[in-house]
């Protein structure tokens, strides 16, 4: 008898497999090649765009776990991004630890732990508040957080902001200025390696949580939390746990974010409500409840302004100067962002991941596709 179709699952081990089909394994190899090769050919602008997309993907993975899988809507991501970034700044500062500042791994872990702890505190009210009320409390968290950041001048530099560690030392290599093939790579090219490695690790982590027992528990909480409790799923453990993990992940994203922009102040336009909304948009446009959806969403939402940027020179009604005629390309990018959100929500509720599934199904069942 012929081999079973790759989509057919015959036992639990099969269900758990990450890369079931040869196609997926080939894709993995291709991605690895891209990962190693891209920073060597990208210019500063695109390296920056892709690195930032990677950072947002990390945060999106955390939020997806919380909102997509556990159903706890949260607009507090921006707070944890800020927390992670300022932790990195403070601990990585030259004045700490005798003139050198703590190494990257150390402050990354500290930021994650700190984020998790604060996430625990934030998760507690989640046990009592539902849906809409919870969302607004997380909004309050962002504003209170911004206030604390602004006032705590020793750590964050107050409104003037603070600078981030320049060297990113991992295992002896400074990724801030990595030598490769004779020349020294730019900062964003070097960070690309760090960021996307962390994306892979986080994606693996989230995927592992999701495809095993905790993941099923989380989804039970999302669908009918009272019923879940009745069948023995501890709401405390899973609701608060989801907050803890997603906050830790968001803090990690914050550390990377700080390293990327190099200079951060408690600016509500940068780490305020708008950023939280962007994360929510990313997981929804990417596809809630899927891991690769968050990554796709981050790439799309991060890449769209950059693409419009490049394309605008050739499009007649877009302008980039103050004196040009036509719509300013940033206004257009923002408008497109708003329209994109609405279009995806209305027409494609399962997001990019859903589109991908459909495309795959179409080709898999060809020539019988419909």
């Amino acid at each position: 008898m012929a081999r079973a179709n790759r989509a057919m699952v015959r036992d639990y081990a099969d269900d758990l497999k990450l890369f079931r089909s040869p196609a997926k394994r080939i894709a993995l190899v291709a991605l690895l090649v891209a990962y190693l090769g891209l920073p060597l050919v990208l210019d500063d602008f695109w390296a920056g765009v892709l690195t930032l997309a990677g950072i947002t993907a990390v945060g999106a993975l955390g939020l997806n776990l919380l909102t997509g899988y556990t159903g706890q809507a949260s607009l507090g991501t921006a707070f944890f991004i800020g927390l992670g970034a300022f932790t990195a700044s403070y601990l990585g500062r030259a004045s700490v630890l005798g003139g050198k500042g703590m190494p990257f791994i150390v402050y990354l872990v500290v930021a994650a732990v700190l984020g998790g702890l604060v996430g625990f505190v934030v998760g507690l009210p989640a046990l009592r508040l539902r849906g809409n009320y919870l969302v607004i409390v997380t909004v309050g968290l962002v504003f209170i957080g911004l206030y604390i950041f602004t006032k705590w001048k020793t750590v964050t530099g107050g409104p003037a902001g603070t600078s981030m560690p320049v060297k990113v030392d991992i295992l002896g290599n400074n990724f801030g200025s990595l030598p490769a093939g004779g020349t020294v790579l730019g900062r964003d090219q070097g960070l690309f390696y760090v960021v996307w490695a962390i994306v892979a690790i986080t994606a693996l982590l989230v995927k592992n949580i999701v495809r095993t027992r905790p993941g099923r528990a989380l989804q039970a909480v999302r669908d009918r939390d009272v019923a879940a409790e009745v069948i023995g799923v501890s709401l405390f453990r899973y609701k608060v746990g989801a907050f803890v993990i997603s906050s830790a992940i968001a803090s990690v994203a914050g550390v990377l974010f700080g390293l990327h922009i190099q200079n951060l102040s408690p600016d509500p336009l940068v780490i305020g409500l708008f950023l939280s909304v962007q994360y929510l948009a990313i997981i929804i446009v990417g596809g809630v409840g899927t891991v690769y959806g968050s990554i796709l969403g981050a790439l799309l939402i991060g890449g769209t302004p950059a693409i419009i940027d490049r394309v605008s020179e050739n499009v007649p009604f877009l302008t980039s100067s103050a004196t040009g005629s036509g719509i300013n390309k940033n206004v257009f990018a923002q408008l497109l962002y708003g329209v994109l959100i609405i279009v995806f929500l209305v027409l494609e509720p399962r997001g990019l991941a859903g589109m991908w599934q459909r495309a795959k199904a179409y080709f898999q069942s060809w020539p019988f596709s419909h």
């Binding site: 508040l129 809409n132 009320y133 607004i136 409390v137 929804i284 719509i327 708003g338 329209v339 609405i342």
Partner: protein, 301 residues
């Protein structure tokens, strides 16, 4: 004592502004269960449209407000029909995000069309004030309080005694049963968004005429609307009376904190009054998770 009264009157003025913004939120939430993040955008749009009506189209104040209220209603109903209608049954955060999308679009449109407006809308009150004893009160703030009170009173009467009001309440309670009774749920949704749109225009007009914080006609009006969130939540997401009470509480808290906290509780910093509303909201929610007057949710398992 004078200082306290003066601050309190300013707090009531600010609270009335928050209440007006929160009312728009509440109308929509009560009828459709959706938190409309775009309410701030509608307020902003309302303010600029009134300005446009008076300045560019040459209407005088009250006709301009009337025309803009109709436009606001139309915009609200249009958004509901085109976007939200298709999102019935989707999870909370998805619908919130749709309203955020609308907010982004409105913000971009407003800042692109009106680049350098006047400092404020040309209202019949300007910055005139009346003086009661030692306390000075702006006429426009009194007007805001009156408008807010009138609106809530109207809502109360309409919801209680008119057919349409009862129909809206029925829809909010149980859509299927309402449908079974012959109520057009679609029309109720559109109606609630239309009302919210007009209320937003009213709020925008008052803000643009220098009520409350006195920012006048500025692109930052939307940010002020954001500060009405705690007011809305505090009072209960589906209670118009709660919106008024919540607004007043938040407004008074904010101003009184600003007036006394820097002196007596220095370690919290200079502008703690800006985040005090969120703390108050948090504390109230921990005690009463549905706000002061919000209705408890019935969850079926």
């Amino acid at each position: 004592m004078t200082k306290f009264l003066q601050l309190a009157s300013q707090g009531v003025a600010l609270g009335a502004v928050y209440a007006l913004v929160a009312l728009g939120f509440v109308v929509i939430y009560r009828a459709t269960g959706v938190i409309n993040f775009a309410q701030g955008g509608l307020v902003l749009l309302g303010a600029f449209l009134v300005y446009n009506a008076t300045f560019t189209w040459g209407l005088s104040f009250w006709p301009a407000v009337l025309v803009t209220m109709i436009m606001g209603a139309a915009i609200g109903a249009l958004f509901e029909a085109i976007v939200l209608r298709r999102m019935i049954g989707r999870p909370v955060y998805a619908i919130i995000l749709a309203t955020v999308g609308l907010l982004i679009i409105i913000n971009e449109i407003v800042t692109t069309i009106w680049k350098t407006p006047a400092a404020a809308i040309d209202s019949p009150w300007g910055l005139d004030k009346i003086t009661v004893g030692d306390v000075k009160v702006n006429q426009v703030d009194i007007a805001t309080v009156i408008v807010a009170g009138l609106l809530v009173g109207t809502f109360f009467l309409v919801f209680r005694y008119t057919k349409v009001g009862v129909a809206m309440r029925a829809t909010a309670l149980d859509q299927e049963a309402a449908l079974a009774q012959g109520i057009s749920v679609r029309r109720m949704f559109a109606l609630s968004w239309a009302i919210a749109g007009s209320v937003a225009v009213m709020a925008g007009v008052m803000l643009g005429s220098n009520a409350g914080p006195g920012i006048g006609l500025s692109a930052t009006i939307g940010l002020v609307a954001l500060k009405a969130f705690p007011a809305m939540v505090l009072g209960g997401l589906d209670s118009p009376g709660g919106a008024i009470v919540g607004g007043l509480i938040i407004g008074l808290t904010q101003i009184l904190t600003g007036g006394y906290q820097p002196e007596y509780v220095k370690f919290l910093g200079d502008s703690f009054s800006d985040v005090m509303p969120y703390f108050v909201m948090l504390i109230v929610l921990l005690i009463r998770p549905y706000g002061l007057f919000g209705s408890r949710e019935v969850r079926r398992v």
